[in-house]
Symmetry: D2
Subunit: 397 residues, 4 copies
């Protein structure tokens, strides 16, 4: 059941010992003041990780998908129009959810591998003089393609168009791993999960709402109870939830924020970038290319690696699991079979990253690709040696 | 943060060592066959605990409240009428959820302390010749009042009326603690949580759907994505979820079902009844009364105990927490301040139960009630001695 | 395998959650500086718990018995004479160990139930003008009889006789539970274990050596390697052991000392006394007597309770285990079958203590003793209510 | 405190999740039948791992060093002569222990890097016609040099000489990792520890005694109490110990034996050999040599790697710890500064081994050795690919 090898899926991540212990709690009374001593610091920690002074943080026993639904149902009404680009499986799924909830989605089809087209957003928003568009959806990091988008540019597009739409950002695989600026970017709803940058088991939808988004809840008529942020707000005021909270995970979240903030957010981001660069050095040494179209959209939390034409990329994932007991991610949707993914987010050391790179290297050779053994690991080793970790100790805890 | 005393809230319960360890897992790939080896036995175990041959079991990273929403949104459409009795805080909340989702609720107001009025249900259903009522809601065990209702009687009411409405049963605080018969009672959707009879941390909504309920999903138009059972069904067929599952809790659920089924469901129910009888013996010795109106509605998972007029029952809960480090439940809604609650579900031994009884006894005396010390604990001790546990070992694991 | 009921053996004790987690560590390099960050604070913590400024603390992967052997083999030579009283099974065993190691033991037979006869020690030491006696052995707390001895009086006896013998004190079941003053009492070797007042799993012999005892190691010729304190001292100077240390337990010991010192040693002792007084109130209510002859020798860590003549006290222990899943201690040696023991040391709350008292009460009635149910628990409840805990929160952690 | 990287010291090893959980137990009564259900299967499991039908297994809360002392003190008397070769630090320490216990040691100085000189043993034993030599000491695997000796050859030497001396074998770093045949080799006392092939935390001395060794205890006069096997034997007959046992570690030992025997001992040995061969392939690719003089003495649990003249091998160990958070072993005694050691025993996967090899490779380059990155990892990858694991799943648990 339990494996000793690290996992290299793009979440859930490897869980640091300290966080496993924080989550593994005996039962306490979730209606006692003791619970407040977990809940409030956890929310405050999340707010800081979001780089926000003002965000209203709501945490649900759910997942990132539940976080999306929280954003939609609390701020919108059936028939509302939203603007969204589809450039990967996760932006696709969010669009699908909108449609199921009776929203009208203006979809900007975008090549998988590219970031969100902020210019196109600006055109559409500028054209929408009647402000039919109520919200703009932006997936900060497309987990399926390993593509990071420029959320600041999306904000600039809204501002340039003078458009009042809300800005919803899916930060599930970016928040706590890559720079995210809730206040500076004017984000209205941010969505994260426990199992990515926060390094926890899955089970929490973590959301931040702006004042503007909170105001929108007053008129939004999409039905909601479990995900209702006003109920949640009322509960929090009494150290409680409207239902039974996931106490252990919240305790873990509090501890995770303590760890991240002690390390320093910029150090956390630099650490992710550095680990990712090692993986990318290996990819170059293998003579392969990333799905991400250009360096400015390279994700620091996951790399989707294109395999040669005619080669089934998914076979690498299966072979790694069966032969070496290592988990990578498969390609999804449009890039299924064309890419495999190495997740490199959360708590990961050089040494752990190298073991993943070595495994991928072995698998590709086992499956007939002409990849000399040691070439990619060596390239990554060279990168890690030349760029020593700043904060190995904290990262490794 | 962690206490050594048992908790006596009506859930989350004390978590057996074995289940804490089952939940505390390192990360595995939730898209690998290994996950299927956890998921499918867990679902099969739940089905058996529900006493069903045919139920479709869906498990969400959520809570019982999310389970209610699952029942409503998958089977109903805005404007549909449902029939529900309000006899406590949890039936009240479910009614409230229906109304928020645009359902029309025919509410049968019922005194708190009494069970569901099956006779009244039958009258209403018989009168509903146009079958306007699409679903009947039934809270099997009202956690707020410690009242168990007769679900078989509700089924008989439906049958007597020849009414096709779906039967939704909230079994959150009954399933895996008290007898529940999905098939025999013709339940269409059953809702449970991980943190009650399954003895796990909170974080799972556990639901069972009948074939009839599954058929209803085809026409139900309430918006749903996170709680969509058809997406879930598709995922399960591939050993997967439509999003990231709570792997550790599912592993714990699998283990919990293994424990419950190894003990034998009838033994589990008898154990709960026996522990509850000891608590009730103490209540009688104290000269107090239960909120539950009569023995046939006494709950075996929680006792709501009325304190004398003019006495603030909630002070017992606060005093127990502050002075003895023990958690009881307060009264909610109509009975706030009038009752305090002793939860006695899940993994509890005689010895643990006695420590809760002794604490309540000390608190009442500390707060001025004339309760001789030892009178209630002695009565419970006499009961437990006269009715020895059948399966102490299994229960105590 | 694991039980939810507290244990009431006189050690190993119930392990607080925090200490279980501290002990459960992944492997680290025990020859790295990191290990020093565990070892040195742990030793320093023990020194403070011993109330010593100067003790040399040595910790072996062993047990209290190994600690006795450490005292003997490092300070004595074959043929040396030691003075010891036999007033229970543990003093008996230490005497036996001396004899096996070729020491000549002057045994002062003392009734089981009485403390060490300091007056008799003084007479013998005064008579020993040739200083044939090299060491005086003193069992601070006889775990077999629940008898505490007056170590200050033994020191006064040595001083009054002007005798240079070393003073070895077995504090296995007293240290960290009852007042122990290494420096003030002029103790030369103190012996403790991890599994009593330190609330840890068994596996450590914890010893403190005075400068005088360290000097004695220079001439002592009893063979020793594993228990050699000079090897240990050399290792410690390099953040290391002469062999592989029990890293997890040492990490736990460090944490245990942090907890004890944060609570305050006097608070720890008062807490033990208070819990013990509740147990003794129950014993009085049952009409039974302690093995300990008089209040000034009552142990605050364990009570040995005499049952009526003709009643097999051991049957209580067996019945409690089989019927209620609760562990008490049997009588040992001279008092086998005549007493049963309730351990009440380490991390124990009122509520836990009451569950043990209630169990004993049920067992005695089950086995035919005329003990009205609730009489002892009620008496203990009255005591605990009248004497509220000062530091419930810390104690309960 | 806790690191996510695997450790590569030659014990304690990485602890599998399953064993960490087995060791982390709440307190149980170590004088109850429940303890017997842990103790006896653990002893039986050890006996099978020793490949013995008849060994008397005794397990002490101690370490391998305590196990040596157990062998000596239970079977020998002061002034007895023993025969021992010194070919590394651990054989050296055992000789030192003999001398401290007043034994007369006939030392055969043997170059570090070579195995035990069975021929020389035979000459000496043949010449000892008076049977002055009471015991022959043999270190099966010299952890300091990574050298495995031929115990069967030592037995043949004894037999050829017709000599009745007892055969004591230090199998601390071989048992449960490399083939060990207690019965076939006529071993009289075998010594192991919990923290090597058994994959547990340190804290247990594990010993097996032959009938002949047990008989020798009757006349052996070295003082012993803590390590007395006859006391232990008496305790075991009552499901108990003569003192407090390390219950959690024993529970872990039981589980470890279950894992090893389920995998199959030959598979366990093959797995160790295979992992070791990968490490040795890397060493060859680096152009370095092992301390072990020839392939037939290569250890499958640890490799001591010679670095070039003038290079301080210990700096690799320090650099790996400081820069990469990885633990290797330093050289000891004669080979201090000349070798560094990679431990590759216990629960280790290809992927984990590769991360250690990559780290060593980076360190050597960082410290100025001309080691192209990827050359050693690539060689190991080629070996692992060409020699796929038979039982990856079991090994990885």
């Amino acid at each position: 059941m339990s494996f000793q090898n690290p996992v290299f899926i793009p979440g859930p991540t490897n869980i640091p010992e300290r966080l496993r212990k924080a989550c593994d709690m005996p039962t306490i009374d979730h209606r006692s003041p003791l619970f407040g001593q977990i809940l409030h610091p956890a929310r405050e920690g999340v707010r800081k990780v979001l780089k926000s002074e003002r965000a209203h943080v709501f945490i649900f026993p759910s997942t990132g998908t539940g976080g999306w639904e929280t954003a939609l149902t609390n701020c919108l009404s059936a028939g509302d129009t939203v603007l969204a680009a589809r450039n990967g499986m996760f932006s696709h799924r969010w669009i699908d959810m909108c449609q199921r909830h009776g929203l009208n989605v203006e979809v900007v089809e975008t090549p998988w591998g590219q970031g969100l087209p902020a210019d196109r957003y600006e055109e559409i928003l500028t054209a929408d003089t009647g402000h039919r568009i109520k919200a703009v959806l932006a997936t900060h990091n497309e987990t399926a393609t390993g593509v990071k988008s420029d959320i600041a540019a999306v904000r600039r597009a809204l501002d340039a168009a003078g458009h009042p739409a809300l800005l919803f950002v899916d930060g599930v695989s970016s928040i706590a791993s890559m720079d995210f600026r809730f206040d500076e970017w004017g984000v209205d709803v941010a969505v994260a999960g426990s199992q990515k940058g926060f390094m926890l088991p899955p089970g929490l939808a973590i959301t931040g709402f702006s004042d503007k988004a909170m105001a929108a809840t007053g008129t939004a008529t999409l039905p909601r109870t479990f995900f209702d942020v006003k109920d949640m707000e009322k509960g929090y005021a009494n150290n409680a939830y409207p239902y039974t909270p996931a106490v252990g995970l919240l305790n873990g979240l509090n501890e995770a924020c303590t760890m991240l903030l002690a390390e320093g957010l910029e150090n956390v981001f630099a650490r992710h970038h550095r680990i990712a660069e090692g993986v990318r050095a290996a990819v170059r040494a293998w003579g392969l290319e990333l799905c991400a179209a250009s360096p400015e959209v390279y994700s620091d939390s996951v790399s989707a690696i294109r395999t040669p034409d005619g080669f089934n990329a998914t076979s690498i994932v299966e072979h790694a699991a069966n032969t070496y007991g290592v988990a990578f991610g498969t390609g999804l949707g449009e890039v299924a079979g064309k890419v495999f993914r190495i997740g490199h987010l959360g708590s990961l050391t050089d040494v752990m990253a190298l073991s993943g790179i070595a495994t991928a290297e072995m698998c590709m050779a086992d499956l007939g690709l002409n990849i000399p053994q040691g070439i990619g690991t060596g390239a990554a080793q060279d990168y890690y040696r030349a760029n020593p970790a700043q904060a190995q100790k904290v990262a490794a805890e």
